[in-house]
């Protein structure tokens, strides 16, 4: 059972469209990270959000951390074919004394030309 639930699991859109990916939990997280993973590669960190309500922008990507630090979203504006990949959210719960990351199930995005 994933502690972090991502939705949607799959998303297929046309180039130029906007999209939002959600990462939800019943647990509070000290921070959340978003990763992108391409086939045959390991996840690569996109951003870390730490403060409840925080919004970070990375070019056409906007990341938001919920006020209660239980959820996060990733919004992509004017998607490009190069955005295709698996998007993963990950975090460490507040009560986790370990150092490992807990990942969501991922959202597989396909952007068609």
């Amino acid at each position: 059972t994933q502690l972090l639930e991502q939705s949607p699991q799959f998303l297929s859109i046309q180039e130029g469209e906007n999209l939002t990916v959600y990462c939800n939990s019943s647990s509070v997280f000290s921070s959340l990270q978003w990763y992108r993973q391409e086939p045959g590669e390991g996840p690569v960190l996109l951003v870390t959000v730490v403060t409840g309500g925080e919004v970070k922008k990375l070019k056409r990507l906007t990341f938001q951390f919920g006020d209660a630090r239980k959820d996060s979203s990733l919004h992509i504006t004017a998607a490009q074919t190069g955005d295709t990949g698996l998007y993963l959210c990950a975090g460490r719960p507040n009560n986790n004394a370990g150092n490992m990351l807990t990942f969501g199930g991922g959202t597989r995005l396909m952007v068609k030309p």
Binding site: F29, S30, G42, L45, V50, M100, F103, G105, R108
Partner: protein, 117 residues
């Protein structure tokens, strides 16, 4: 500089065979993590090393799984008597800190795709 490397990149094993997966972390990185990523899923934590000490192995799914890092650099994940449910991508990640904080980046290798027939 060189990133995290893993070998082999692909491994096909017959059910019941033993396999050994290798991880070469970034030079100087003291923390090392193993994750298992099933097809279509996010990675799940297996075990964590701080130098040569295995501090957390709570994610290892059974006693058939064993990991070591004897000299605090290269790590090997061994799976004995492989089963079909072991088929997955095994990811290794490393970090320079002794105890990465919640905002630190873990650097992932490309993974080893294990297929058990």
């Amino acid at each position: 500089g060189a990133g995290v490397s893993q070998s082999p990149r692909y491994k096909v094993a017959k059910r019941g065979q033993d396999v050994a997966l290798r991880c070469d972390p970034i030079s100087g990185h003291v923390s090392l993590f193993w994750y298992q990523q099933a097809l279509g899923q996010g990675p799940e934590f297996l075990t964590y090393f701080q130098n040569e000490a295995q501090l957390d192995k709570s994610g290892l799914p059974s006693d058939r799984f064993f990991a070591e890092r004897p000299e605090g650099s290269v790590s090997t994940l061994k799976i004995q008597r492989t089963q079909q449910e072991d088929s997955a991508v095994y990811l290794c990640a490393s970090h320079t800190r002794l105890a990465p904080t919640s905002t630190d980046t873990q650097y992932f290798g490309p993974g080893t795709r294990l297929t058990v027939l």
